[in-house]
């Protein structure tokens, strides 16, 4: 059987709350990272508060709606980021969000490798029909990576985010189980 938690560059783990809180505290100071990830205002939180959220998240992870992973590189075994899934079992769909907190690992294929692992997990372990995501129009690096993984652009909500006094679109992307399966078959032949 395939190793669900091991890609070509990264592996999925779950860091201890203390380790994760220390890293995330550092990452929240990177406002460019925040603005790539989210549409809400950047904010700073105490290590205590962050650890409480992480602990609550771990408690939630016994539920079938929420899956969180920490991400480590294979080469250095360095903890560089995270990936989360929000699952709707009724309609057999999940939403994914991911980030690389350690900037020296941007633009080197780590994000794409994380997403490939995620797709394998969503379609062969959670056995869902669809994976969805939203991304800011000003994040072309992420958009290219998602396209490479097989996501299709399904539309854009016009001007729904206001950053630095400018209106920008959110892009919505999705991949269906059948599309992912076809890509896997394509790889083999």
């Amino acid at each position: 059987m395939k190793d669900l938690f091991r890609g070509e560059l990264v592996r999925f783990t779950l860091e201890e709350p203390e380790t994760a809180a220390k890293a995330e505290l550092r990452w929240t100071h990177d406002t460019e990272l925040h603005r790539l990830l989210d549409g809400d205002p950047a904010q700073l939180f105490s290590e205590k508060k962050i650890r409480e959220w992480i602990e609550k998240q771990s408690a939630d992870s016994s539920m079938p709606e929420r899956y969180s992973f920490s991400v480590r590189t294979l080469a250095e075994d360095q903890y560089i980021g995270f990936l989360g899934l929000w699952v709707d079992l009724i309609h057999s769909e999940a939403w994914v969000g991911l980030g690389i907190g350690e900037r020296e690992f941007w633009s080197k294929g780590y994000g794409t490798d994380m997403m490939k692992l995620c797709l394998q997990y969503v379609f062969t372990e959670l056995c869902l029909e669809r994976l969805s995501l939203g991304v800011h129009a000003y994040n072309p690096r992420a958009i290219r990576s998602y396209e490479k993984c097989g996501f299709r652009l399904e539309g854009r909500t016009r001007g729904d985010v206001l950053r630095e006094g400018r209106r920008t679109d959110s892009l919505w992307m999705g991949i269906l189980r059948a599309e992912w399966m076809q890509m896997q078959n394509g790889d083999r032949t």
Binding site: D40, H91, S132, E154, T157, V161, L176
Partner: protein, 214 residues
Amino acid sequence: MFDIQTQLFESQDVRFAPIDHEKDPEVEARWTHDSEFMRMIDTVPARPMSAALIRKQYEKLEKQVEEDKNLYHFMIRLKADDRLIGKAMIHRIEWTNGNGFIRLGIGMATDQRKGYGTQALRMLLRFAFAELNLYRVSASVPEYNEGAIALLQKFGFVQEVCRRKSLERDGRRWDLYFFGLLNDEWRNQPQAALPKSIGTVVSGVTPQRHEVEG
């Protein structure tokens, strides 16, 4: 001149009102026993609810309105007999981005196709754009809810996103659409205007109801 005279919560036949905790739960409970209605307005599994359960939901909703500050909720009542016929809300408001999602439902089939939904949506959009000053509003609608799609298009909503096969109902998969309307687009189309003679308070007196073209 500022138009502060136009009443935001009054239309020809319907008005917006707060929850009536005594009378509304039984009316809304009856709507939930109609699975077709439930599937039109929501993607969560339809299930029949008791008045007691609806009463609890109202309390939760009012608490959320008070604490979260990103939600406005209205009951739609018929002016003629004060009967509850539907609900409207703006929720998931992001104040820094000036956006939010709208929801609207007319509960009974017998109250549908009478222009009540149109009147309620006109009020809801005016509230969103001229009172909350939002830059845009969104609505998410399953492809099978043709009535809602026609209503949104009448008000100039643009289909922005097609989330392919993201719902499963009756053994097949359906697309879910996101519609969007910008403040400028709303301002520049005739559906936006509340009829001038309706709901305008002159010397503290609400004038008689007029027949107005839809």
